[in-house]
């Protein structure tokens, strides 16, 4: 097992995926969810507003993980400079993504609450922004949602490429999508997990909590989430089966996950909390058409927890090829 990266990078990868996924979920409802038919639509509102702050929190945690970069923060600027490194791509992606996510969230708040719009228009110290008020709010918001979702796919995938880019050093992390295909699995797994955890946060938790009885959304929402959970289960089983089949360090990683020292985390936090429990909860919700408070909160929290533990498990069980 590798020891250089532990909890902090796991939380960072998790928050990166969650924030990017939240923006994607918000944009999905913005473009395909009849957003315009409602004055108040909690799912895109929740997704757009949490996205930027989650990423900021993740980046702050990442800075804490750095050694010299924490003590001498100007060194972080050097991280923009080396384009062969996936980490440099990530730093650039986040540099563009975070402001766009923040602006998108702000515009979504303005769109949902016209009173906030009026209040801001009335402020004397904001008079210099007068020209902005002539822009069409909805269309501007959609532009930011579009650019933001393209970048969000990049951020979610980047959290996976960061691991798969170590190549032969840690075979579990560079498992291919299909045997013989030179495309890593980890970016796809992290993208699916990002969408699933973001769905859990925005739909299962925030929408159920703050708009439970008052807001009815499409039954398709639950079917999409069911598909995401199923896809995640398939990708995780493919990861483990491929690792067992490959032998060597990859098989040792898989053995540690399924049978070895990390088995409790795997069976409780992945199999039970990421797959079985949310599947039951969402089949129930899909039949009902919406989440009960209990089913929404419990499956939402279990998916979020399991998303974090999935990153941690994959990080901690990365057995180097060569000991």
């Amino acid at each position: 097992m590798q020891t250089a990266w532990g909890w902090l990078p796991a939380i960072y990868l998790f928050l990166g995926g969650l924030g990017a996924g939240s923006l994607l979920i918000a944009a999905l409802f913005e473009f395909y969810g009849d957003r315009d038919r409602y004055d108040f639509f909690p799912i895109p509102l929740a997704g757009a507003t949490v996205s930027g702050p989650l990423l900021i929190l993740g980046v702050l945690l990442l800075i804490f993980e750095l050694g010299a970069g924490r003590r001498e923060p100007w060194r972080i600027l050097y991280m923009f400079t080396h384009f062969s490194s996936v980490m440099t791509w990530g730093v650039w992606l986040l540099t563009f993504f975070i402001p766009i996510a923040l602006i998108y969230g702000f515009l979504e708040v303005l769109d949902t609450f016209p009173a906030a719009c009026q209040w801001l228009k009335g402020r004397r110290w904001l008079r210099w922004t007068a020209f902005l008020w002539n822009l069409p709010l909805r269309r501007t918001k959609r532009v930011f949602a579009g650019i933001g979702s393209a970048l969000a796919v990049g951020v979610a995938i980047y959290t996976g490429i960061l691991l798969s880019a170590v190549g032969p050093a840690i075979p579990l992390w560079s498992t291919p999508i299909l045997p013989g295909v030179h495309l890593p699995l980890m970016p796809l797994l992290f993208l699916v997990s990002a969408l699933s955890t973001a769905d859990a946060l925005t739909v299962d938790i925030l929408t159920t909590l703050f708009a439970g009885g008052r807001f009815r959304y499409s039954r398709r929402t639950h079917l999409i989430h069911l598909a995401l959970i199923t896809a995640e289960a398939l990708l995780i089983s493919h990861l483990l089966l491929h690792a067992f089949g490959e032998g060597g360090a990859a098989a040792e990683s898989a053995r540690q996950i399924v049978l070895g020292q990390h088995a409790p985390v795997f069976w409780i936090f992945i199999i039970l909390l990421a797959i079985i429990f949310p599947l039951v909860g969402h089949i129930y919700a899909a039949g009902l058409g919406w989440h009960m408070l209990a089913s929404g909160l419990s499956s939402g929290i279990s998916i979020l927890l399991s998303g974090l533990f999935l990153r941690y498990l994959i990080l901690i069980s990365g057995v180097p090829a060569f000991l």
Binding site: E65, A68, R70, R75, T81, A165, V166, G167, A169
Partner: protein, 218 residues
């Protein structure tokens, strides 16, 4: 009439700020001038004969002493191979790859390869993200907790450039370590490499180690 004057003042201010930032930033971005810019004169090779190595660990301690590393930390790591009847030892340190994955993944370009093949870390650029430690398939890197930077074997470069030997070579009791110039066909290291007895470790990683070679009995 007020607006242009204000904007000019702001422009001048921004220019001054940018100038100060550039003046501060450029020297920080410069590499360690002494080691990075010196013209290479040689191609080095360090061959470890595992059939002679007794695994005593003198190289590990010599490396630790020369590089002032804390107790228990060294740029050299011992792996025990074989079985209880016939153990043998594989000493691992930076392989000085021609295609170093640590340098590829480094976000700050702190790890770089000299023209003579020695891979070095400019510790003033390192942010301590530990990405290189994950990417090195030989796990040849150590983390300097005190300074928060990645660290590894640097082939004792100042000694070598001055005509000396790496500490591990000097300290090796059974004489299992050979150091020399691979570009001199008369040298012992060049002949061992040419004969195919000394081989790079795990060439299937695609890292193309260019300085470290091992003699391993099949």
């Amino acid at each position: 009439m007020e607006i242009p004057r204000l904007s000019r003042r702001r422009f001048l201010g921004l220019t001054a700020a940018a100038g100060v930032a550039a003046a501060l930033g450029v020297p920080l971005l410069k590499k360690e001038a002494s080691l990075a810019q010196e013209r290479p004169k040689a191609r080095y090779a360090l061959i470890i004969d595992t059939t002679k190595c007794t695994g005593c660990g003198a190289c590990i301690e010599a490396c630790r002493l020369r590089n002032h590393l804390p107790e228990g930390v060294s740029y050299i790591r011992r792996i025990v191979k074989g079985n209880e009847r016939n153990p043998w030892f594989l000493m691992i340190q930076c392989q000085h790859c021609a295609n170093p994955p640590c340098a590829t993944v480094c976000p700050t370009n702190a790890t770089y390869r000299r023209e003579d093949g020695v891979v070095l870390i400019d510790e003033r650029l390192c942010v301590g993200c530990k990405y290189c430690m994950q990417a090195c398939p030989y796990q040849a890197r150590v983390y300097d907790e005190e300074r928060g930077v990645a660290d590894k074997c640097w082939l004792c470069l100042p000694w070598v450039l001055g005509g000396g030997l790496p500490a591990c070579v000097e300290a090796c009791i059974p004489g299992a370590r050979l150091f020399g110039r691979a570009d001199d066909p008369q040298s012992e290291v060049a002949q061992l490499i040419a004969s195919g007895q000394a081989k790079p470790l795990h060439p299937e990683f695609g890292t193309d180690p260019s300085i470290l070679f091992y003699v391993i009995e099949a």
